[in-house]
Amino acid sequence: MSAQADPAHRPRKSTLLPPRLRPGVAIAVTGVIFAAAAILLGSRVSAYYYLAAYTILQFVVLGTAWNILGGYGGYVNFGTAGFFAAGCYTTIVLNKLFQLPLLIDMLAAAAIAGLMGLATGYLTLRLRGIFFSIATLALAIVLQTVIVNWGFVGGARGVYVVRPQISGLFDSYAHLLVTLMIGLATCAVLAAWAVERSWIGIGLAAIRDDETAAETSGVPSLRLKLIATTMSGALMGMAGAPFPYYVSYVDPATAFSLAITVNSIAMPLIGGTAAWWGPLAGAIMLGSVQQVLTVTISSAANLFFVGMLLVLFLTAAPRGVVGIARAWKRGRAWT
């Protein structure tokens, strides 16, 4: 960053900006730069790149959201697709009823998926380990069954969504969606960073390591887990809210796709669950390669590749890219 490039300004900058806040500022600045670049590039870039970028950004949000509960707290959620779809269908319902701006749709999706996360937490967090995971999987299946049988949102046939008019700043709707997703991804990563370094993150880490010992050290485990399920669910819902406008046709099989659940687990695991930048790195790496594979081989090769990479990392580098980077940095002092 500029503070390092310009030694003369270093002392002044470091008093203004304590080291512990630097990652947050770096995340925000990077987000603003990317958003500005997207706005400035406009239609000079092929729409394909926008669509590819959208998918990667969507997984940045989903992986980061999953990691708040799964990585920090150790509670593995197999129901990401359920929360994502809750966001999708919130937009679909609102689009049919009122035609609101997409930002409002996203806030509504955050509220609904967040409440869903809170309810899931209340119902299932007394379950530990694998039982919690199975319950989240069941929840997604129940929700899918409800949607399949709900005619108003298209049921099993699916539904077409008409994109609203675009405003002057953007050249195409894909352009708008990508800019929006950059903003959302920035917010998600910032939220994860803030959680990680706050008392919530420390408490979740204690819960992940030993929930009983955490409780007897004064950690309010139920409350922290509810905060995590709510935040995680809300972010997943927000990631799903713009999706109907991105694809313009949504059916339950797409919204509840297994690929969403698998990717949102695989990306944090491959990137590393211990730090906010793990899911980010995992989503960018895996997301980019998947886009390349989709174009060069076939979209069916995606999940095969994700599976292979997941097996490789879990056996060779179980702490992901974050673990590799930390081991390298500390000269293997930490195991």
């Binding site: 010992a213 955490a214 050290s217």
Partner: protein, 240 residues
């Protein structure tokens, strides 16, 4: 003020038909040092779990500092000053030794400034003799060091009552004396201590009163010398 800091009345707990505790009464007075002994599997740890809120007894009540806490979650009891160690150490393995100590400092005590937390953690690591291990992962500690970490983490909660569950197992004689001196000093500072231990030398030296549990029932409760002379205690320990 009530002189009982921790009291349990008529505690019973069954696991699938096995009576782990049957109608046990328990009292720990303010500033008292009590030893809890009994053969393996006699229900000592189950009693501690009921007292600290890890499990809820089927019958009976638990009171801490004059308030009924039978249905109070473990983390609230910890915040109010009830700390414990675990017989089988349960460190937070993803954190450093010092960060382990910082968890109760942040949550049970409620320190918020990183500086205060770090300073207090280092003071506690000094106290339990782990200062030179602060940056290590608990995975790299020996069993003895893990027991010291358990004790340090309990002390970090600034307890009114400390339940020390076999913190001396595996320690050398001089280390036992060290821990006993630490516990005695803490007691002099006003902490009531319940010591669960198999090392009789330590129990006899430390305790003002001894409680004996055998097969889920309290069979003796009194002055150490008197309790150890009783026939039923001798039978439980040495056989017929």
């Amino acid at each position: 003020m009530d002189v009982n800091i921790l009291a349990a009345k008529g505690i019973s707990k069954r696991f699938d038909g096995f009576a782990a505790l049957s109608d046990v009464d328990f009292v720990l007075h303010k500033r008292e040092r009590v030893g809890l002994i009994g053969p393996n599997g006699s229900g000592k740890s189950t009693l501690v779990n009921c007292l600290t809120g890890i499990i809820t007894p089927d019958d009976g009540t638990v009171a801490f500092n004059g308030n009924d806490v039978t249905a109070t979650p473990a983390w609230i009891r910890a915040k109010r000053g009830l700390a414990r160690t675990y017989q089988i150490p349960r460190p937070f393995t993803g954190m450093s030794v010092q960060q382990n100590i910082e968890v109760p400092l942040r949550f049970a005590v409620g320190h918020t400034s990183a500086r205060a937390v770090s300073d207090a953690a280092q003071a506690i690591l000094d106290q339990v003799g782990l200062a030179d291990k602060a940056g290590l992962s608990p995975r790299r500690l020996t069993q003895v060091e893990l027991r010291k970490l358990e004790l340090g983490r309990a002390l970090a909660a600034q307890p009114k009552v400390l339940i020390a569950d076999e913190v001396m197992a595996g320690l050398s004689d001089s280390e036992i004396d060290e821990i006993l001196a630490l516990l005695t000093r803490l007691n002099a500072e006003g902490i009531s201590i319940l010591l669960i231990e198999h090392i009789m030398r330590a129990v006899m030296m430390f305790s003002q009163r001894i409680i004996v549990i055998v097969a889920g029932q309290k069979i003796a409760d009194g002055l150490p010398d008197e309790v150890m002379k009783r026939d039923e205690v001798e039978r439980a320990y040495l056989g017929e």
